[in-house]
């Protein structure tokens, strides 16, 4: 049926070059591709999770030029030329980042689905405020949903990470 063929138009691809975790990724993509799809499907960086896909849960949080963003609510083309940090970029030379270590040491995770997003959000928080109060942590992570932990150990993990990062 000719109608069915016309329903799937060919979409012209565009070149997008994003620096992810210090490495340049040049890909030809459809303009409508979301940043999280670019990370997971075009670059095989599957540490960034898709939770709700509705700008609610924060599982897809990454850093764009140091600021936390929800990568399901941005087109990949909008990140062209910028620096993205994902959970894969936290570890350096086989050594866990202090935030990663603190989440482990404080049992700040159970199933781990929300954890990459929470750790990157914590990265922005602690770079602006190395000693956040519990109230400040609550406010800061309000856009990250965790359905396992009840959050108490996440607060402890972020406090611990802040202390350890200051000590470094």
């Amino acid at each position: 049926m000719p109608e069915a063929a016309a329903a799937t138009p060919t979409i012209e691809k565009i070149a997008v070059n994003i620096n992810i975790n210090g490495k340049s990724y040049l890909r030809q993509i459809e303009p409508r591709m979301l940043l999280v799809e670019f990370l997971r499907e075009a670059c095989d960086l599957t540490g960034t999770h898709v939770g709700c896909d509705t700008t609610y849960c924060g599982a897809c949080t990454v850093l764009m030029n140091g600021l936390a963003v929800k990568s399901c609510t941005m087109f990949a083309a909008q990140a062209d030329g910028s620096e993205i940090t994902t959970v894969e970029g936290l570890e350096k030379d086989g050594k866990l980042h202090p935030i990663q270590k603190a989440f482990g040491d404080s049992y700040g995770l159970q199933c781990g689905y929300c954890t990459p997003g929470l750790m990157l959000l914590s990265h922005q928080l602690l770079s602006e405020n190395p000693e956040p109060s519990e109230k400040e942590i609550r406010r800061a992570i309000a856009g990250n949903t965790c359905r396992c932990t009840g959050y108490m150990n996440i607060f402890k993990a972020i406090e611990l990470a802040g202390r350890n990062m200051k000590g470094d």
Binding site: P31, L34, D53, T54, T55, Y56, C57, G58, T61, M64, L67, A68, V69, K70, T73, M74, F75, A77, Q78, L121, Q124, L125, A140, I141, A142, G143, N144
Partner: protein, 278 residues
């Protein structure tokens, strides 16, 4: 550029409302024109008795701006919109151009003397915010016109404002919100502007509540009378955020709290005000 694509194109600012709407197919443009790469569209300046915000200024930039903090109502509003991630991307110009009935900026800014500066192929226009917002999701903008700047007049000495919204959780739109801007002299209210959010198709000015405060000292009785008048001005729809009666009750309580915070600030006190959520 939008003229070139015709009516099927849309501007993309912070994308925190538009991209979710695209996913739901509520918006279905043929083309998107991304405004994020245009330099000089994000700024906060003071000049000729007003604060000037570039349309692409992010909520987070306003939240952390000492200059914007001169008007505490603006800080209350910016610091409570959704969550950190959304505030890093979402813009004040995009929020006004979207005109969502539950959006925070239109409700906060309507209590101040706010002008929206717009630009299109036929030149520049300056539109008062009250004339800019026409209806739910409808503004005075032509399809090929965009917001460039938001100008907010600095109110006279003795003024104080507050914006209080109630949300079920951080990332969602408020269930109801109240914006209050007062000017006091010798403990007597000279002028009051009160607006109610999420309880009508656009922000509602509670004019009866405003009139009830003028010429009064703001004791508990005067505040209760104003809150009661605000409850009557609300025109909420029942939805998953609550029944119409619940929202009327809620908005009256938020007005009461916002008047108390605004009055304290008008006296020069440092009072914390913010969105309320679990």
């Amino acid at each position: 550029m939008l003229g070139q694509f015709g009516g099927g194109a849309k501007f993309l600012a912070g994308g925190q409302s538009l991209i979710p709407l695209l996913k739901l197919r509520f918006a279905n443009p043929d083309h998107l024109v991304d405004l994020n790469f245009i330099p000089g569209t994000s700024f906060i300046k003071e000049g000729s008795g007003a604060l000037h915000f570039g349309a692409m200024t992010r909520h987070a930039e306003i939240e952390h701006s000492a200059l914007a903090g001169k008007l505490p109502l603006l800080h209350d509003c910016a610091a409570g919109i959704a969550d950190v991630q959304v505030r890093n991307r979402g813009t004040i110009g995009g929020s006004l151009a979207e005109a969502d009935p539950s959006g925070d900026w239109a409700n906060a800014l309507i209590t101040l003397d706010t002008t929206v500066h717009c630009l299109g192929p036929r030149g520049a226009r300056a539109i008062q915010l009250g004339d800019f917002i026409k209806d739910a999701y409808t503004t005075a903008l032509a399809h090929d016109e965009l917001v460039t700047e938001i100008e907010v007049k600095i109110p006279p000495a003795g003024s104080g404002g507050a914006y209080v919204a109630f949300k079920r959780s951080a990332p969602v739109y408020p269930s109801a919100s109240a914006a209050v801007q007062l000017t006091m002299a010798d403990d007597i209210c000279q002028n009051a502007a009160i607006a109610l959010g999420c309880v009508g198709l656009t922000a509602i000015r509670a004019t009866e509540a405003e009139t009830s405060l003028r010429g009064k000292s703001l004791d508990d009785k005067a505040i209760a009378t104003a809150a009661e008048a605000a409850r009557g001005a609300a025109d909420p729809q029942p939805d998953m955020r609550g029944s119409a009666e619940y929202k009327r009750q809620l908005v009256a309580a938020l007005v009461k709290r916002a008047i108390q915070i605004a009055a304290g600030r008008a006296r020069g006190e440092q009072v914390e005000g913010a969105h309320l959520y679990a």
